[in-house]
Symmetry: C2
Subunit: 491 residues, 2 copies
Amino acid sequence: MKRINGKAILYIIGKFLLIEAGALLLCLIASVYYNESIAPLLQSALITGGTGFILTYILKKSNKEIGKREGYIIVSTVWIFFSLFGSLPFILSGSIPDFTNAFFETMSGLTTTGASILTDIESLPKGILLWRSMSQWLGGMGIIVLSLAILPILGIGGMQLYTAEVPGPTKDKIHPKVKDTAQRLYMIYLLFTVAETILLIYGDMSVFDALNHAFTTMSSGGFSTFNSSIVETSPYIQYIIILFMFFAGVNFTLSYFAVHANFKKVWSNEEFRKYLTIIFLFTITITGTIILQKFQLQSLTANISSFEKIFRDSLFQVVSISTTTGYVSADYLAWSPIAIMSLYILMFFGASAGSTSGGIKIVRIILLAKHSYYEFKRLVHPNAIIPLRLDKRTVPEKIITNVLAYIIIYIIIYLFGVVVMSGLGYNLETSLGSVVATLSNVGPGIGNVGPMDNYAFLSSPAKWFLTFMMLCGRLELFTVLILFSPAFWKK
Amino acid sequence: MKRINGKAILYIIGKFLLIEAGALLLCLIASVYYNESIAPLLQSALITGGTGFILTYILKKSNKEIGKREGYIIVSTVWIFFSLFGSLPFILSGSIPDFTNAFFETMSGLTTTGASILTDIESLPKGILLWRSMSQWLGGMGIIVLSLAILPILGIGGMQLYTAEVPGPTKDKIHPKVKDTAQRLYMIYLLFTVAETILLIYGDMSVFDALNHAFTTMSSGGFSTFNSSIVETSPYIQYIIILFMFFAGVNFTLSYFAVHANFKKVWSNEEFRKYLTIIFLFTITITGTIILQKFQLQSLTANISSFEKIFRDSLFQVVSISTTTGYVSADYLAWSPIAIMSLYILMFFGASAGSTSGGIKIVRIILLAKHSYYEFKRLVHPNAIIPLRLDKRTVPEKIITNVLAYIIIYIIIYLFGVVVMSGLGYNLETSLGSVVATLSNVGPGIGNVGPMDNYAFLSSPAKWFLTFMMLCGRLELFTVLILFSPAFWKK
């Protein structure tokens, strides 16, 4: 194997830092508009842009050929570099003076997790709040391209189920393909963001809050500019947010078809249909248990408004958690054990592959369910050859093994995480909750990191560890874990 | 497909009931010796034996040919029939007047789970206590034959990894093979039981208690005749029990070789070596965390006896839980979160395939670990063909898929169980604990069914559900679940 081309990696990271500097400058507009100090964002932009400029300028003339291994390293380290420089505004503004906390918040943003260490969000300067929301929006953009264009080439991720044969990553071939895919999908992403912003403004939200929430909805991020998340907003606002969280959980390729009025293609997608089914079933179940619970307490006044509220709360939490957005409109930990358990399981599922959501992804759950069922069928008919189909096409055995391995490794890492958090002294529910909430990029979990809590109370080692969980989950495990494999570094 | 031969099934169940009646009569000896009422055991033996006699007599002349499907049904229903008739002594003696409780206790015995609804074990008549222990010993015998001779023929279970090609279950071919295997292994089982009884008597245990504990150790059952399980016994007794729990967790085929002094064969077995490694690593970890915890509380007087006690407690609990025996010598829920977490994970592992232990089994965990590691290797070297080896032999792809599916279905059933228990109103830790403790046939779990608790407080639906979990886990999932598949019943 060839030596790893470190210069090419740094060159590309430099390019990314220039983009980040641009985003920081955009947030400056809010600082200027609201008459806040422009220093923190300006300094951050200069430091980030300067570093990016130096890296790209110095390495301009070096060999920029990148292979698969460089690809893995770039994908993993870009998120870390982005978080390092992205935490500058929080530190320089004094909003989050502690480096661990600032890095946690930024990584939580860029991975679109939405776990926060802030206890009083509304006290932050508007410019910093905008950067916080924008970090999620940028993260979402990164993920779309990553999952739909880059990871399939590296041989990782749920989307390889849809791509038949992707050519090897030689510089000439891959570049135009990625660029083309990215541009089409970004238009959809932008379109949805603008549409949501307008609809939220129409519901009497301020332009600033509407933009922030559109950023963090479409990225399935879940950072809110309100201390109480979405709890105190109007039903209209909540329904709009439910709708766009739902969109964010759809494969963006499908959204592309939908926008071009090709609904047949959308409906023929099995993952999309099951995504709808899951949301439907979980909402019904949870609505049912809450109504039962209220009947037992005899506190249900039989008027439509309270039924509507229960349904809306259930739907909101189901969509928010299954898309791993993590907005909160009700304290679900006060619900019945079965409702909590249902949401806990949804945290693992996630939504569609090729969306901005995290988690295992529904397409993998479908393959798992089908494969398990076929294992039984094979016991009864041991010699029958039963091909596993998805979207009416046979799925190769190799992909099935890969998907099963992915789910198992997901569970192993999850258990490893729970052991680590237990080892750091947290109780079982908090360990179970914090790890799935970060690994699946949800945000709120169960235990002491529930919907009404935040991550501020955790120790520094716990915060760093959960940051690592966010990154692992966001990059579909393999991308990060492969860097720990000795075989990867062998010449 | 042919019609299911119901008469053949009932005939075989009749035969089994005759065995059970014999076992009940054996327990009568204790009743006579201790001057207790002989009525409950005698009546139970007569009812059971009578039913068995009627079934075998009436169906003597019918066609007794059994195929695979009859095999599945027999294996599942034998445990249920055994539990039904086996609960008679508890009910007739008034020791456990409630049918749900009596069935729970008997199924817990026969599946060698060891979860108990009894709050005062020592108050029971000796004859009934002996039957309680013997139910586990009988269950253990059933499992050895099931896992080493019957399930491989039905195409289920970890042992299929060791058998290359088993001929189809035509009546003539299979019978002698099963009988021969069973006899050899039963001799080992009996030998170990006798040896442990003698060694326990040597440690000043009464003959009655020694026999009972030998019954429930070798079956990895865990029912004790003491209210406080093994907590108040001497270190010598505890070490003897540790040793025999360890034996019970070894593949009985290996024990057969060991008894015939073929130690090379034992050592060349990868699962055996990993079994040792797991016990070693978990014991070291838990001992370490307890010592750390004590140091923090500054309560560790640095004498050898307290170190020895900590080590012994750790080793005992690790061996007891990894073999899914479920004896308790210390309240592990009082230990650090990481120790509790470690034991919780061990509950899933179980010990060797072909032993009396429950759980996923170490050989499957090994294959899972190797496969996961190779998935990474394949990412780096996409075109390399890396065969997965076990005991230096290549494992076929089909077996690997089967093992992965098994582990995933195990986790799905586990989660399903946790949802059901949550739905019945139990808190998360109790749901998590009670389901793994029954599904893996451990006995004590975490939450409110911990080492110092029992299952008496649960509602009837919860008890019936957990009874079902015990049976599912004991019969390696597929055997029971396949009966719920429509394809199974289709003509």
